[in-house]
Symmetry: D2
Subunit: 398 residues, 4 copies
């Protein structure tokens, strides 16, 4: 049994299986994929990777399984393997490339069935008598045990919240995961939290709720990521980058391709490199918008051209960012009271209100170079029928 030092959980134990899996190029690649995409532009400590996160998830999954009854050694191994491998489907910069990859390949980052059947990983799984198919299902959360990794209240979330807190320095993420795990069990095929873990579960949701505006939706990250996504699209359109190979790249190769380009993608890349980012011409929430903005999500480029004409500038200097509707799926985590299961938002007042409160965290943005900020702001406000900020909320800028 080897151990590895993790700044978040202390020593993490690695058995033969874990060591073999870790020593594959597919897992090693995760060392070069930042957990938080481009957030290090805001939080300079946020350079942590999917690799250490994967170790952490395996660690917490083991901790949770150790207190469940009737789990065989093989099942444990299968889930530990799944925990380690759960993020190998991620492309460079994690969520930043997820949309593009999904658009072209129809695959989300947890669709790894095919990857697991390939050469090296498949060999290792077979050697340890583990079924790649089951491991893939675990990762998708399609099995009872798989809920530990992928469900409304899984160890994946627990690890990333405390890990993101450790590296950004933001205290909000400090979830009492030890307590929460201690109060979890499988109850009739479902992963549930016992009543005694209610407050710990609430605290996990509140953590995520607070982390969103401070970290995950921070406007500077959103701007950089929007620029990045556009640069990638540009390289794909110009056939310099294949969208089907994207999920095999790492942060390094992608960054190098972008910044060495001598056209639009390169211009965006070098702006990110030197932190000469676009600025907010507009950044508002639902209630400030006169239009149903979500319907524009699929026509973003057309509107950029429209706005560019109105502003009389090149459309490549206008980037529109319309995130999807914010959801907190943890609200549907199952809480067990005696023999009954209920959803977390049915037993917790605070949680019940988080849905709306979290909607208020949502922001759309229109980004442009500093020099065009005023004019783009003006035409964007017109186009999206932005209302004067209502009495009690002002145009927040986070």
């Amino acid at each position: 049994m080897k151990v590895i030092r993790d700044p978040v959980h202390g020593y993490i134990e690695l058995d033969e299986l874990a060591l073999s899996l870790i020593d594959t190029p597919l897992m090693q690649r995760l060392r070069r994929i930042k957990q938080l995409g481009l957030s290090s532009l805001v939080y300079p400590g946020a350079n942590h990777t999917r690799f250490e996160h994967s170790l952490g998830v395996m660690h917490l999954a083991s901790m949770l399984m150790n207190q469940l009854n009737n789990i065989s050694i093989d099942e444990k191994n299968e889930l530990r393997a799944a925990a380690l491998l759960h993020d190998i489907g991620h492309g460079p910069y994690s969520h930043v490339t997820e949309g593009t990859i999904k658009y072209y390949t129809r695959k989300k980052h947890d669709d790894v069935r095919e990857v697991l059947k390939r050469d090296e990983i498949a060999d290792i799984l077979h050697e340890h008598n583990l079924d790649p198919e089951t491991v893939a299902k675990h990762i998708k959360g399609e099995t009872a045990l798989g809920q530990i990794l992928n469900s409304e209240i899984d160890v994946d979330r627990m690890d990333y919240l405390v890990r993101d807190a450790h590296y950004t320095g933001v205290t909000f993420g400090l979830v009492d995961y030890e307590r929460l795990i201690h109060e979890m069990e499988i109850f009739g095929k479902k992963l549930v939290v016992r009543w005694g873990g209610l407050k710990a579960a609430e605290s996990l949701l509140l953590s995520r709720f607070l982390m969103y505006p401070s970290v995950y939706y921070h406007h500077v990250s959103r701007i950089a990521e929007t620029m990045y996504i556009r640069a990638i699209q540009n390289l794909i359109d110009r056939e310099i980058l294949s969208p089907f190979g994207l999920n095999k790249l790492d942060d390094i190769s992608l960054f190098e391709v972008i910044r060495s380009d001598d056209d639009y993608a390169g211009e965006l890349g070098r702006r990110i490199e030197e932190r000469k980012l676009f600025k907010r011409a507009l950044r508002v929430g639902f209630q400030s918008l006169g239009v149903d903005v979500l319907k524009y999500r699929d026509n973003v480029e057309r509107i950029e051209i429209e706005l560019a004409e109105m502003a009389d500038i090149d459309s490549k200097y206008i980037l529109i960012d319309i995130p999807g509707t914010p959801e907190i799926e943890e609200m549907k985590a199952l809480i067990r009271t005696d023999s009954k299961m209920q959803h977390l938002d049915d037993v917790s007042q605070v949680v019940a209100t988080l849905e709306q409160a979290h909607r208020d965290n949502w922001r759309m943005g229109v980004y442009t170079p500093k020099e065009y900020r005023d004019i783009v702001g003006k035409v964007a406000r017109d186009f999206f029928e932005v209302k004067k900020p209502p009495k009690q909320y002002r145009l927040t800028e986070y």
Copy 2:
């Protein structure tokens, strides 16, 4: 400038004034008054005292004043003195004795005007040209600067939340007070939080909200404290203890008086000493109660006798605990947006819902020795017309 090592804030600087004040018997007494009363019976690390908390409050008050403009050295000194002295009105075991002291003396723990005018403290204040009257007003929060110590969102709360978290080990209290303080200012005589501190302010409320059931209202603490209060009352009734001298005692002298008593008070004291506490015969929230329980708050002893008769046991073995209506006054903290001030619960959805959610944290209790638990539970449920737990909330036991 001397420094003292604080596990929460690192080094705290002490100037001449602070050193003189600390060296008085009144301040030294705070070393022997536990911050969290009897919570160490639940959280064995919770032995921290009002003394270190007072140093911490002074430290945070200085930090906040350092970023305010136009505060004279004298004003700073006056507020620093007030910060150090803000808890000298506390009786032994902090809040545990507060009700009794207030009942007899009509004084809350922040009514320290007279204490400040007495000998040693008064001399020190005069020596440094500080006005005891103003210091007393600061402590009551009746001045603009005094809001730093005593208002909806003051440094007192910030210190105790992080300090209680450090010593109990409960992670919920980890407020980002640095950020919050950095975003505070005096705006037209009012202490306000700028918009940029909104999330930090929300996190402070959420922290308190989560700390309540886990720490402040933990049923074991409530039981021990109820027993303690009754023991004190018994000693007062028997004229062994003077209620007017209570606020001069410390934990040590009070504990010694109680446990060395050879009657009812002593019996309760020794039960606490050996942790043979009363148990919950009933512990329910508002919604489980068929009666308006708050109206009984002033007649608790009469009902105990009534229940005792019904259960046919000595009334001294029934203790009823009806806490006051729970409030989160931080909800009314002022948030500044441009030139306008609004209450926190007007700008924050989550905060707005905390009032009700926090009401759900409230519990009344009926406590009795283990052997009477069943019978007392039965008569109490009848008396208070306890309903069957509603579908979505069960009789929580924290």
Copy 3:
């Protein structure tokens, strides 16, 4: 399995046996015995108790046993019981009363054979089929497993170093006990550290070495403790306190007896209460002394009288403090390399030098009220033939 929250180790698991033991008056008494005696006069956060330390030692002992082979459940239980009970022999204020108790009773704090055979504890041990005799031997470190609790490099030290660091705020104590424990094993009846734990073992020694002058030997603690010891002796001499009942008292009862005395003991007690401590008239290390000071250890009172005559003051205002020769027994911890065992100071250069370096941490002191400081300093320097500070070391004052 219940859990209890410990600020140092997180959740600590308590099984039936542990819960029964904890619920005895003997263990509950440890809640009222401060781990660091009077150090809270220097470090206001240092109010932690032997109770939580005992939980911590049990936790680390379990952690260590979990990785040893061939230990039966019964053996584990026996050692866990021993871990919980290892400090029940301590008198009030821990080490402060140890010398006095030993002088009269010939018992050190780990001589608990008789206590374990008494009523309640004995009953519980028997109920769980554990042998009090073996538990007592474990506590003394006289068995193979007992070395885990009491040997050159035991979990007792690990817990108190990190715990003292947590509560004083001094960073020196942050030993990597997880690593150290992970590298320990029983090898031929001996508890040894494998080669891979060498650096962690070195760091434990260096920690203790650094904690000594900063915390354990801090001059203010030494002064208060010397005053305390003298107050106790005075009460014993006047037959107010029985030396044979001392180890059944707690901090509270002892403090109350002392400060309510109306003679010399009371005077010292009230000085401690109000922190009007004696001051250093002299505080020097071995190399500044012209006499072999250790030979005076048994005649301290005679010399105090002598000095008092020379200074023409009452001898009760002179307190001489001559600690025993400082030792770091961890130097003899066993390190295993392949099939050979060696002492830590044979394989580690730094450790080898710590003996001398630690001797340099030693200080004797002569303490007196402020007003006599000069005259007492003068006569003490004469009596102990204090040399001018040598070139490279000055009269350090910690």
Copy 4:
């Protein structure tokens, strides 16, 4: 005044000057240079960068200057600028490329005079009336104030020790820098530590001493770095990489060049990428060596060829790693006692012994692919006349 969140120091304040400097490509490049080179292969959390370290050094330098007297605002600004810029001379992967850069350019990483005179940085310094020449001297430690950044006991070390501890998770680095800084002053043009800071200074040395074998000299890092250095040399020899542009690259561009190479450099690069590293054929300290190994430092490649011939394998599969003599220059830090200054190793026994103890941390290594380990080990042991491990030290493997 803007603030940035640092996981180590909390909020760091950035004024106009700092913001302008940070926004230059030269400073932004430090975001892409890992502080610990390739240590993340051992400690997966160690992805922190020179960028955040530079912010931390500025923060500590400000903290130290705030307690010095008679420093003008301009001097403060000059030193703060120097602190921010002190590492811009570093090449990719920090110390990994330092030797190569120095060999070709004759410049160490703190020789930044010319860089500071270039365009953007020079403009910013001039705008704020700061002299690039003085800033460069500060960085070299050639001025009185510059010692704060670059001397025997500077804030650079303090920051990297605690930062490396935070990200590796190794506890050894937890220096009490607050205390140390609090006890520092300029005394006759020299930066000294007052007597009260002696223990904190000792702890800093002990920290570095413990961090060396655990982190800085960890054999896996050394192997990867030796491979890396050789890959770079190979690219230079083949004129693919210019040694004179090396210090303008970042980790990303260098890594991409190496792994995309289709010859020897690429082979090494891909081995690092997939963590198929060379293994230790030999790794021993001075006392195991029959030859004066340091004299071979300049002929490493010749010996590799010789060993390769003896082992009958290609010389590119043998890498010899002979680090320079280990030094702890902090031993010469100045400690002030009254009006005298002495070196730390003259007043501290432990420190005095660290020189030898630290020499024992030194290891040379011969690395080779797994399959050649035995044969290369054999010929290397012969060549370097490796003795059987002496009685008390075995061939350590860290």
